[in-house]
């Protein structure tokens, strides 16, 4: 086994911070195999605690790295180390960057990458916006990076997958662990439909609170731009934003209502100078670096092929674009229609992707 990989695998499972220990080891300017040949004296010099040293000793005696590599091979998981040619360039340079990644799925993935992050408990509007951003990035050839969590993360991944775009989920668990429950299908699609699941933790690592903020730095570094859709002041998305700032990435935020805690963080970012994301096509043309004529063309074609809207459907759409979160009652009164007609218009508009359900019994126009 490659000594470098062996050391990095040992570190990943030792319970220490692999990046920190490795940075210290690099200063020693020793060949990688010295790490386990020299043993305890070196480890304590590098600042490993007694417990970590015990773990390292045990793991190398049990030939854990070899077994882990074998497990990874069996599960179709690639082990990528920082010296590999395919190591993402965005992940080099910082001392706290990971040195080893478990990757399940396609690698490398070409295209400008956009990280879309936000709270797990977002509004239906935030969910839909994340979905549309993911979709727009995917359709114009970009890559959506997110954390595979519920809420905004999931919506962004799904938006991208809906147009068969590649999407990367950076997980806070082992790549073979599904967390949160209910994301089995999503993770499977990510791994198989041109995207990837990425993690720096050994296979089978269960979810632990401290791992999620840690993986956020990888999300930030893997992408060229970061979009915060909806985030409260204290949230993982804000940690990602801080990491992105340190890594020199462009930060965008979707403006939210100022009375909602769920948007306080993303709005604060805007105040602090993040780019306001006020139009998805404009953002995508900048982010993916491609004039979106192609994308527009596609959308126009799609609209032509969809069922042409009736006069009543247009009337409803206009009302919803004016102000969202309307109930059937309001639409019926303002559009001067029977509730039955409102329902049938809403169903048609929803199928055509122009309207979404924003709450129980409330409809809004899809953000564009």
């Amino acid at each position: 086994m490659n000594p470098l990989l062996r050391v990095l695998l040992l570190l990943a499972a030792s319970g220490a911070s692999p990046s920190r220990i490795w940075s210290a080891f690099e200063l020693e300017e020793l060949p990688p195999e010295a790490f386990y040949l020299e043993g305890e004296p070196l480890w304590s010099r590098l600042g490993c605690s007694q417990e970590v040293q015990r773990n390292l000793r045990r793991l190398s005696e049990e030939s854990w790295p070899e077994e882990e590599a074998e497990r990874a091979g069996r599960n179709g998981v690639r082990l990528l180390v920082f010296s590999d040619r395919e190591w993402p360039s965005g992940l080099s340079g910082q001392s706290d960057a990971p040195r080893l990644l478990y990757i399940k799925g396609k690698w490398p993935i070409a295209g400008s990458s956009v990280a879309v992050v936000g709270t797990r408990r977002c509004s239906p509007y935030g969910l839909r916006t994340a979905h549309e951003i993911g979709r727009a990035v995917g359709v114009s050839g970009g890559v959506v990076v997110s954390g595979g969590a519920a809420g905004v993360d999931r919506a962004a991944h799904e938006g991208c997958l809906s147009v068969k775009g590649p999407s990367i989920a950076v997980l806070g668990t082992g790549v073979d662990v599904v967390y949160p429950r209910g994301h089995e299908a999503l993770f499977e699609r990510l791994g198989e439909e041109g995207g990837a699941l990425v993690s720096e933790y050994p296979l089978g690592s269960p979810p632990r609170q401290w791992r999620f903020p840690e993986r956020n730095r990888i999300i930030a570094s893997l992408s060229e731009r970061l979009v915060v859709v909806e985030a409260p002041l204290k949230s993982g998305a804000m940690i990602t934003a801080r990491c992105a700032l340190e890594a020199g990435r462009e930060i965008w935020a979707v403006p939210g209502r100022i009375n909602e805690e769920g948007c306080a963080g993303s709005n604060r970012l805007l105040y602090d100078g993040a780019f306001p994301l006020v139009s998805i096509p404009d953002f995508v043309s900048l982010a993916v670096g491609r004039q979106l004529s192609l994308f527009d063309e596609e959308a126009r074609l799609e609209e032509l092929h969809s069922v042409a809207f009736t006069e009543k459907e247009q009337r409803i759409l206009v009302l919803l674009k004016k102000s969202g979160e309307r109930t059937v009652d309001n639409l019926a009164v303002e559009g001067k229609m029977a509730p039955a007609d409102v329902f049938s218009c809403l169903a048609a508009l929803m199928a055509a992707g122009h309207v979404f359900v924003a709450g129980p019994g409330r409809w809004s126009a899809v953000p564009k």
């Binding site: 949160p180 805690e261 109930t327 039955a340 049938s344 169903a347």
Partner: protein, 500 residues
Amino acid sequence: MNPVRGITLRGIEAVGVEVEVEITGGLFSISIVGLPDAAVRESKERVRAALRSLGLAVRGRVAVNLAPADLPKEGAVLDLPIALGIASAMGSLPELPRGIFLGELALDGRLRGVRGAVGAAILARNESVPLFAPAENAAEIALVKGCEAYAVDNLADLFAFFRGEIELPPVPEYRLEENPFFADPDFADIRGQAGARRALEIAAAGHHNILLIGSPGSGKTLLARALRGILPPLSHEELLETTLIRSTLGLPFEDGGRPPFRSVHHTASTVSICGGGSALRPGEVSLAHRGVLFLDEFPEFRRDLLEGLRQPLEDGEINVSRATGSVKYPCRVLLVVAANPCQCGWDGDPVERCICSSVERERYRRKISGPILDRIDLHVAVPRLLPEELVAVEGAGGESSSIVAERVRFARRIQRERWARHGFSCNAELPERVVKRFLNLSEGVRPFLSSMAGKLRLSGRGIGRVLKVARTIADLSRNEQTDVPHVAEALAYRDGGLWR
């Protein structure tokens, strides 16, 4: 010896019981054999006192046999036949006429109403013998056509009748009143919720089960109650079916052909909902027969209970089996299910804040989807209207329940006529395999549906449900053909409540 006939209940069915009495000399005692329950055993005190009130003093050893001996007898309904049997054995009565006797005795000889009088009337009709029943039960007995029944106030009257001294008033045949019943609450009283009202109209017209999802205070319960007012009134036969079940439980007769509405709380036991107990009583689901069964706070119901309800709801009857036997009860109900959008109830609300964690949300979601939900054709969200929204819709007054009920009744009639030769009575009953063949789809529907199916991720079963609902919508608008707008509207009720 001349046996007197009474009844006992087995499920909703009345079973004939022969009461034989023998009196021999000796110290006074009454013993009752033939598997009597406590109420039957205690009847000896009531019977003795009632007879004494007529001046008959029971003396000697009285043996009462209830045949068939292996059938458990229950309730006070056997008081009257036991009293008649004893009086007859004492020689104080002329030859008794043939007939079935039922009634609970008061100590002064008055007859009290009993459970199971309707079942007894059916038994009497089938055997073409007269029925003598307490006057309190006269109204419900009247429902049974072709039954010769007499209402009896007290034991003294009955004895006088036997001696030919007086005539007993025969129970007149029941006439269902034509004038529609009073809807409470009336649709016109509900402000806003035009969408949910429309969905309820469709539910009533096609007998589609319906799910209402909305935050607390949005009016789910009110809407569910209002559904009762737009259902077609019960026919004579249906009223008889519902009264038979109510009578088995001793519930008072409800006149007017108003469909029943039973609201079940989620803490209710399986027995109280499905029926059972050693006496094999009908449960709430049977009491709601031909009417509405309302399950509020649906996700709080126990999973096994819902699983148990699934098959009965589909078949329209429930089999209650216990060690003491098994009975079938009818339970053709319109199921109305209400749920909050999440555990705390405020998910997606424009003002209130939802405090559920994502795990809680996921758990709630799993609870809400499931086998029963698959059987519910209409899913409707009930938005909590904000004060300003209520003001905005103030002008648009709703139709009154009677107008809606008229449309519903018409749609039901069309369906009955259309499906009569297939053996169904409403659109919701259509089995999956016949749906597409008989719905008379217009030309545009098929391409429309296939274009939608991809976008909305419709399953085969989902499409079947949508088409059934679309057919009902077409019936409501008196269209022969199921057209694209009908299908589009039906699509809106597919999962309107579950939006995440």
